[in-house]
Structure formats: structure tokens, C-alpha cells
Amino acid sequence: MDETILKVRDLDMHFAVGTSLFGKPKSTMTAVDGVSFDVRRGETFGVVGESGSGKTTLGRCIMRILQPARGSIEFRGKDEDPVDLTGNNSERLSQVWRDIRMIFQDPQSSLNPRLPVIEIVGQCLRKSEKLGGQALADRVAMLLKQVGMRPEVLHRYPGAFSGGQRQRIGIARALATNPQLVVADEAVSALDVSIQAQTLNLMQDLQEQFDLTYIFIAHDLAVVEHICDTVAVMYLGQFVERASKTTLFKNPQHPYTRALLSAVPVPDPRARQGKRRRLAPRESSTEKTACRFAPRCPHATDICKTQAPPRKRIGDTDVLCHFAGEI
């Protein structure tokens, strides 16, 4: 089971901030900063972080919605040669986008309101498998059944469905081409608690059934703990900690991971800790320290501000901190 399906190395992504009269960027913002990781086939790889951490940008780079500034993303499909997703081999890449699919956060805006369900789910099949007519309808009906929807809804429009149902349609669309890897960007964040549980169960069932690998991008730590096998914590574009789920939640190493975990409200009134030590708010000023987290870190010393923290390995944890293992 230790087969790698996705290998990301030194990925950078910048955005231009503010442009001068002739379109020259005044400054750049680094959204993803030297991220490297491997995803094993069949696992659920979680990426957690707060807004602005770059987790969505990372997902978008993998899907090539954005072209990364630097680095490589190697995809190894089953019985296929590895292919660099950042490369220019367009013929090969167009094949790859059947193997890698995405589920979006907002089921409202990620479905075209003017297309019926059969088109939303089946469009890619028309193109990739030249399906049409009854064959297409049958196939889409089957996909809908797999995500727990009745096939009668084929010709309805997204407006007729609730948020949970729309997300199911989005999942059916992602599954249409029998993908191997699915990037789910905040796939359940917009859903109500009871619908969220249904959707998570569905995603787990489908993973077993179709041997899927998930990259699960989310901000909800409890959901990530529930569904993921490996978890990476992102802060201002960097993976500050990465470990197996059990290790990360039982024995977090990075001060940011610890702060994040202690900030999550626990659904148990007896676990209320009174006033806990809170993180200082992130300053909007762009004071750039060598360790990105240093301005908010309770353990920061001078070295954190001047020297980039080394990546250390403690047990099965990868952590980006000068004092990892000591604090």
C-alpha cells in the first residue's frame, strides 16, 4: 500500500499584488512556499490551515487551475508512466485530468445553474468517452445512484436542489471519469452538521468502492481527524507540520498546530477550560520573519526571526521549527 500516487516537490506559487500602469506588479505575495510531500495511493491526505494559509492555492496548483511558479508535481497513475502536472505535454495531460478530479467547496457556484444534471455530470463523458443519448443517460443515472440520488432528477437544474444534494451532484461529476485521485477543497464546510455527516460517509464509501485517493483540504480539524490518514498543517504557504493523523492529534509538535488544536471548541461543556492562552491576532503588517509563525509564537526567540527554521523529523512527524522536540 506504500505506492506513491502524487509527488510534490518544492512547490512555489506567487501572486502579483497591485500593478503599476504598465501591468508590472508592485510586489508579490507568496501563497505556496516550498511545499513538498508524497501522497500514497488509497490514503486520504488532509491539508488544514486557516484562511490565507495557501491550502486552496495548493489544491489549485495540483489541478493546474493555477500554474505554479516553481517546483514539480508528479502524478503516477496505475500502470502508467509518471507525468509532471506542471509540464507542457498537453496530450498526455488531457488524459490525466480523467484520473484527477476535483470537488469544490461551494455547491452553489460550482454547478452551472443553466445546465441540467445530466449535462453537469455527463459533459466530460461526452468528450472523453464519446457517450451520448441513452448511453449517457444510463451512465449518469448510475453515477447519481452511487451518490445516493434518484435517477429521476436527470433533467432538473441545480436550483431545484438543496446544498447537500448539490454537493452530491458535484461528487458524481468528479466520479464520472473513474478518477484515481480526487482533490476535495472544503467539500463539506458549507453543509449543515447532519448533511455533513452524510457526505463524509458517502465519500468514505466511494473511496472503498473505487479505490480512491483523496487530498482533503479543510479548516475543520475534527472533520480532518475523522476522515484523513495523513495530515499536513499549513501556515502562510508552508507545511509547518506533517504526520500521520494519530500522531498529529495526539502529539502535535509545532506551536502553531498546538495553538490551532487548543482553539477548536470542543463539543463538551465539561471540557471548557475557562480562559485559555490565545494566539495573538495575526498582524496585517507584512513584517517578514524567517520563521513565518515567529510573530505569534509564544516560544519565539531571536533565532526564529533571523534564521529559517530547519525541517526536523521526530518519530513520523515532519516539523518546521527551530525548537521542535524541545518545547
Partner: protein, 340 residues
């Protein structure tokens, strides 16, 4: 329906119905809510989207947008001088209502960007609120506004007084909102999903801040949320809403440790908990919330309820009755003849 006065009650809502008269039919967003808010206590209204929790809160302040209106029930507010005012029937635009709104009862919303005016400096907006409700000079109001900004943890309050809302981060904007809401020292603060749009670390700060200010100003807080974690963190009392009705109410320990209503139980079971939940399937609630125009007869939850009893639950609507340590609206605990 209770009629006798409850000691310590600040707000007594009974039989409240707020309906929306749309072209497609009547949406019963709030359909018979009974609820009491006590002085100096934090009550959380827990419910999923569309359960009517926001409309219920807006009904208290009488800021329900057309085509919605209160069709029945009472919202009895007990003022500091002992007078009792029924907010449900108070004339819209009356001095009495205007005085309570903003002065006695203040409200903050989920997305501060939509409730702060975008083209006015935040300081000016706070000063305006103070001048509207209290007899102070402009200069005094300004000093108070700056003090308030400082109190809610905004750094450089004197400087930020001159800032526009878009210049602040989400957490800072929510703080500014809170500063404005508390500038007249309300007796009740209604917070509608105040932290839903914020990151967890910011959320923790804002929840701390609200709890701190609640003690300092000795006010009651009604916090509306869908997040069980937030409820467990701040609530003293909890009311669980489903399809426009309170289905269970009690103190926070009763609701979390000994939930009675099948919906509350299912809700508690369906959230993953860090360090507790085993991987595998979550016990999800079956089906989905019915369309608001197609309310089921009888108990609104019966279509998704594992304990639904045919011939009982579909015939009449259950009232809140004592069950366990809380009060629950379910026929498992009362019979359909209404004898409790």
C-alpha cells in the same frame, strides 16, 4: 403557554409565529417558539440552516424583512424600570421600540462587512450610535467610542477610530461590531453566528471577548449558532430549534450529557470529535430538512426520526414537556392528547 412572570426573566417569548407570505405560499419560518432569556445568562440557540433561529432573533428586534411578519405570540421584554413591553405588538417606529432597539437590546451579525456601513469610518458609526441613545456631547461620545474600541481589543484605538471597515481584518471588524453594539451598554446582546466567518484561532478570541464583556457589563447574551463546539464553550442555557420550533431546551449540561429529543441526540452523535470519534461511519441523520413549503403534519422532525410513531407523531404537534433534565417537545415523553 406560560402567563405568570418568571423571576429573573429578561425576555419571555411565547407562541411566537413569524411567517413569510411569499408568492408560492406561506413559509412558517418561526412557528410557535416558547423561550425565556434570563438576566446575566448566556443562552445559545442551536439549529441548522433554515430552522428559523435567525428569524426568531430578528423578530425580537422587529427587523424581519417583508414579506415576513409576526402573526402570533408575545415577546415580553422586562425593562430595567420594571415595565413590561410586548415587542411583538409594539408599533414599528415607535419611540419605545427605537429606544429598546440598540439601547437595551443590541445585535451583532455573522458578516460584519454587511452590517457596518462601508463608506463611513468605524469611529463615526460608533459615535452615531452613542449620540442616538445617550445625552452626551460629540467629544464625549468620541472618547467613549475610542475607549470601547480599546476595550474590545483593537490595537491603536485612536488611530483605528479613523479606519474604514474594509481596512480591518475579519476578526477586527467583528470586534468593531461588538464595540458598536456594546457602546450603549445593552441588557441583552443578540449575536447571530458571530464567529462563523472567522478562523478558529480568531473565533476563540471573539468568544472569549464576548464572555468577558458579558461579565463586565452584566448583560444577557443570546448566541445563535450551528456549531456544537461553540455552544459547549459558551452556553449556560441551550435551546435546540428545528423547523421553526424549539424542540428541546435546558441547561448546557443537560443538553450535552442527557439529550432527550431524537433530533438533539442525533445531532450530538453526528459531529466528529477530536480524539474521541473512531474512524468509520458517522451516525448521520437520515434524509434532509423538508422544504419549508412542504412542512410535514404533526411533529416536523417525524420524517427523519428513527422513533417516529405512526398515528401519533403525524397527527399533532408536541409541546415542550419536562423530560430528563430538560424540556422536550416529543411524543415519546408526552401523549398526543396534550396531557403531558
Amino acid at each position: 403557554m406560560r402567563t405568570e412572570a418568571v423571576p429573573g426573566a429578561l425576555l419571555e417569548i411565547s407562541g411566537l409565529k413569524t411567517h413569510f407570505f411569499t408568492e408560492d405560499g406561506v413559509v412558517k419560518a418561526v412557528d410557535g417558539v416558547d423561550l425565556t432569556v434570563y438576566q446575566n445568562r448566556t443562552i445559545c440557540i442551536l439549529g441548522e440552516s433554515g430552522c428559523g433561529k435567525s428569524i426568531m432573533a430578528r423578530s425580537i428586534l422587529r427587523i424581519v424583512d417583508a414579506p415576513g411578519r409576526i402573526t402570533d405570540g408575545r415577546i415580553l421584554y422586562r425593562a430595567a424600570d420594571g415595565r413590561e413591553i410586548d415587542l411583538a405588538t409594539a408599533r414599528q417606529g415607535s419611540a419605545q421600540l427605537r429606544q429598546i432597539r440598540g439601547q437595551d437590546i443590541a445585535m451583532i451579525f455573522q458578516e460584519p462587512m454587511t452590517s457596518l456601513g462601508p463608506i463611513q469610518k468605524i469611529g463615526k458609526q460608533i459615535v452615531e450610535t452613542i449620540l442616538l441613545h445617550r445625552k452626551v456631547s460629540k467629544a464625549e461620545a468620541k472618547e467613549e467610542a475610542i475607549e470601547m474600541l480599546d476595550r474590545v481589543g483593537i490595537p491603536d484605538p485612536r488611530q483605528r477610530f479613523e479606519a474604514y471597515p474594509f481596512e480591518l481584518s475579519g476578526g477586527m471588524r467583528q470586534r468593531a461590531m461588538i464595540a458598536m453594539a456594546l457602546s450603549c451598554q445593552p441588557r441583552l446582546l443578540i449575536a447571530d453566528e458571530p464567529t462563523t466567518a472567522l478562523d478558529v484561532t480568531t473565533q476563540a478570541q471573539i468568544l472569549d471577548l464576548i464572555a468577558e464583556l458579558k461579565e463586565e457589563f452584566a448583560m444577557a447574551v443570546m448566541l445563535i449558532t450551528h456549531d456544537l463546539g461553540v455552544v459547549a464553550e459558551v452556553a449556560e442555557d441551550v435551546a435546540v430549534m428545528y423547523m421553526g420550533r424549539v424542540v428541546e431546551e435546558g441547561d448546557v449540561y443537560a443538553i450535552f450529557e442527557n439529550p432527550q429529543h431524537p433530533y438533539t441526540r442525533a445531532l450530538m452523535a453526528s459531529v466528529p470529535r477530536i480524539g474521541v470519534t473512531k474512524s468509520g461511519r458517522l451516525p448521520a441523520i437520515k434524509g434532509m430538512v423538508p422544504h419549508p413549503l412542504a412542512r410535514p403534519s404533526g411533529c416536523p422532525f417525524r420524517t427523519r426520526c428513527d422513533s417516529a410513531m405512526p398515528g401519533v407523531c403525524d397527527t399533532s404537534v408536541p409541546d415542550l414537556v419536562p423530560a430528563g433534565d430538560s424540556r422536550t417537545a416529543c411524543f415519546l415523553f408526552s401523549d398526543a392528547t396534550g396531557n403531558g
